[in-house]
């Protein structure tokens, strides 16, 4: 029996088992209580246990069925750029202001596309930033500084 044939299900089973254990173990630090008077830990403890059982079952059935091994490609560059773009916005929108933070965020996101060059990406970022200011600040009256304190706004 080749385990790599079931890689996908094994991994899925491991993820669910791990998360279930994490929730169940953390729940025990809260008061469990009794079925009559459930403490805060009761419900998550039971669910965590169920998730562990499901995780193990997924792994076992995966190994028995030996199917669904291939994970396919992962667009790593896009993944890193998109996550970075979102985190950048959260970290800087207050201090840099809406316009620069959004511009960089959209620029990073645009660069995540395949074969996108810098100039078109800048064009996309500029036009989308302008559009967003119109929608969120002008139309929806979002109260956010366009240029933040770091840039003297």
């Amino acid at each position: 029996m080749r385990l790599q044939d079931a890689r996908k299900d094994l991994l899925a089973g491991a993820v669910f088992t791990g998360l279930g254990l994490a929730f169940a173990i953390t729940s025990t630090t809260y008061e469990i209580g009794t079925p009559l008077r459930m403490g805060p830990g009761f419900f998550p403890l039971v669910l965590g246990g169920v998730l562990v059982v499901l995780g193990v079952s997924i792994a076992v059935t995966g190994v028995l069925a030996r199917e669904g091994g291939d994970l396919g490609t992962v667009p790593w560059r896009a993944l890193v750029l998109l996550i970075a773009a979102i985190l950048f916005f959260g970290a800087t929108v207050r201090d840099l202001g809406l316009v620069p933070a959004l511009f960089v965020t959209v620029l990073l996101a645009a660069l995540a596309g395949r074969g996108v060059r810098v100039v078109p990406a800048v064009v996309i970022a500029t036009s989308l930033t302008a559009l967003s200011v119109l929608i969120f600040v002008v139309a929806l009256q979002l109260r956010l500084p366009l240029i933040g304190p770091w840039l003297g706004g």
Binding site: G20, P35, P40, G113, S132
Partner: protein, 521 residues
């Protein structure tokens, strides 16, 4: 209040200029995302949730609902014109619809789809209006035990129609339930799983979860392939149907409407199932079944009516019981909660103008769709030429700014990144995100009712099986579960999805139902 008074109230609400405008915006946006492959109604609604925060509750719901049923129309347009269903329920429309387009009868196919959808949508809306009051009155008699059993039934039933592994869908539900426990415990106020983070005391942010799971994770999936599409569309002309056409589509539309209205109530991918079942029904009923797959107008009329009827009636569980039947309805629950309305049978009494306004808006929205779709068909086709590399940076930008704007809190933005990674990872492992969202939305409700039921029964867990209504619901849940896992039934279900006698195979919906718009060329 009688039905007529209720509808009059609904007309008053729906016919204000603001609500008409946002109904139009909603259905237009819905048509757009239905047309565009790579963005689905679920992701669009998730992204627009933050914007609707500042709206009146009725306006926000009218617009969001419009996106959902509007997408059913848009999906059929691309299915017919370029054999690319933008939405999974339109997959079956592509079979005969695109064949008709190749024969130069694209206009007729589009007109059939639009007229059938309009008729079905109108009838199904009436159905929703008629059923809403009695069903919610019934639900008001439910005690905590019945509610807990009902929620369990809803959760279990939603997996029976989802594609892929039942175990994985179950695990996703449980994970969603667990994520729903993050925050303060309802009874004691003890913080759970917050790791001392103040931001987590109110629980994980619904908008961040939906945006990360459905918006960003979906983009990552689309970036796996190269989103290249060549659009060659012949000029669409001759939209008018002849007497002969009307005669041929009459029965399919009626049957499709009935099938869709009935199946739409089912949790999960009711609208997808409805369109596939309608197709096989019409094929069986047809005098010349060999025409199917070669441009039979009945093969467009039936499924299109069915999926639009189902799109309307899938609101019934949400509106009467507060139970979302699929991911889209779960997003509407989120919209209600953001507005401070607790979804459930009380909404119809406590917020009658929101409730009836929404129902009347279905009809108005369907009328808008008819007007938008027939004359403006060329415009929608042009939208297909917008490259994806322009679209997804816009989605990321709007997601970030929109989510931030709700609480002006950077933590919610970081949460998007977290859920995007979690969602994408799980999708890669063959797990659909929709059950997780359902679990997340229903988790706190389930916990509250289980705990209340047990407190009332003095800790006696048999309360769930000794109360007849609760027992019935649990038995149904068990049946639903076995339907989902039984191999024989699973095979049969796959047969429904792949109808193959002689006609060409319908393009497989990437993920039946809830993860809409995932079809990639």
């Amino acid at each position: 209040m009688g039905l007529l008074d209720s509808l009059a109230l609904g007309f008053d609400t729906a016919f204000t200029p603001v609500n008409l405008l946002f109904c139009l915006i909603g259905v237009a946006l819905g048509t757009a995302v239905g047309v565009l492959p790579g963005i689905g109604p679920t992701a669009t609604m998730a992204l627009l949730l933050p914007i609707t925060f500042g709206f009146e509750p009725s306006t926000s719901l009218i617009m969001l609902a419009g996106i959902y049923y509007g997408a059913q129309y848009g999906g059929s347009t691309t299915a017919i014109l370029i054999n690319l269903p933008g939405e999974s329920s339109a997959a079956v429309t592509a079979i005969d619809g695109h064949e008709m387009a190749k024969q130069g009868r694209a206009g007729k196919a589009l007109a059939t789809a639009a007229l059938g959808s309009f008729f079905a949508g109108s009838v199904a809306t009436l159905f929703v209006a008629l059923l809403a009051t009695p069903l919610s009155r019934l639900a008001l008699n439910f005690g905590p035990a019945e509610l807990a059993s009902l929620i369990l039934l809803g959760l279990i039933a939603s997996i029976t129609l989802a594609s892929g592994s039942t175990l994985k869908a179950l695990a996703m539900i449980v994970l969603g339930l667990l994520l729903g426990t993050v925050g303060q415990d309802i009874a004691t106020g003890t913080p759970r799983f917050t790791f001392g983070q103040r931001e987590l005391y109110d629980g994980l942010d619904f908008v961040s979860l939906a945006v990360g799971l459905f918006g960003v994770a979906e983009i990552l999936r689309n970036l796996e392939g190269s989103m290249v599409r060549s659009v060659v569309v012949k000029k669409v002309q001759d939209l008018w149907l002849r007497k002969e056409d009307y005669r041929r589509i009459r029965m399919p539309v009626l049957r499709g409407t009935a099938l869709g209205s009935a199946l739409g109530v089912l949790p999960g991918a009711g609208h997808v199932l409805a369109s596939f079942m309608s197709y096989s029904t019409e094929k069986r009923a047809a005098k010349n079944p060999q025409e199917f797959g070669r441009g039979a107008i009945e093969g467009v009329a039936g499924p299109e009516s069915a999926n639009n009827a189902a799109a309307q009636t899938s609101f019934i569980p949400l509106l009467t019981l507060g139970l979302p039947a699929n991911a889209v309805m779960a997003l509407l629950v989120g919209a209600l909660i953001i507005q401070g309305i607790v979804p459930g049978p009380d909404v119809i009494n406590e917020e009658p103008e929101v409730f009836w306004g929404l129902i009347v808006s279905f009809w108005i929205g369907n009328l808008f769709l008819l007007l938008l779709n027939l004359p403006l068909i060329g415009l929608w086709v042009k939208m297909l030429t917008i490259p994806y590399r322009w679209l997804f940076p816009a989605i990321i930008g709007f997601a970030a700014i929109g989510t931030f704007s709700i609480n002006l809190n950077a933590f919610d933005v970081y949460a998007i990144a977290f859920f995007a990674l979690l969602g994408y990872g799980l999708i890669k492992l063959g797990c659909e995100p929709a059950p997780l969202l359902l679990g997340f939305v229903l988790g706190p409700l389930l916990e509250e009712n289980v705990r209340r039921a047990l407190t009332i029964s003095q800790g006696d867990a048999t309360t769930f099986v000794t109360r007849p209504l609760s027992l019935t619901l649990l038995v149904l849940a068990v049946v639903a579960f076995f339907v989902a896992v039984l191999p024989a039934v699973r095979r049969k279900r796959e047969v429904v999805f792949v109808e193959d006698d002689d006609g060409p195979h319908p393009p497989q919906p990437a993920q039946a139902g809830t993860r809409d718009g995932a079809s990639r060329p």
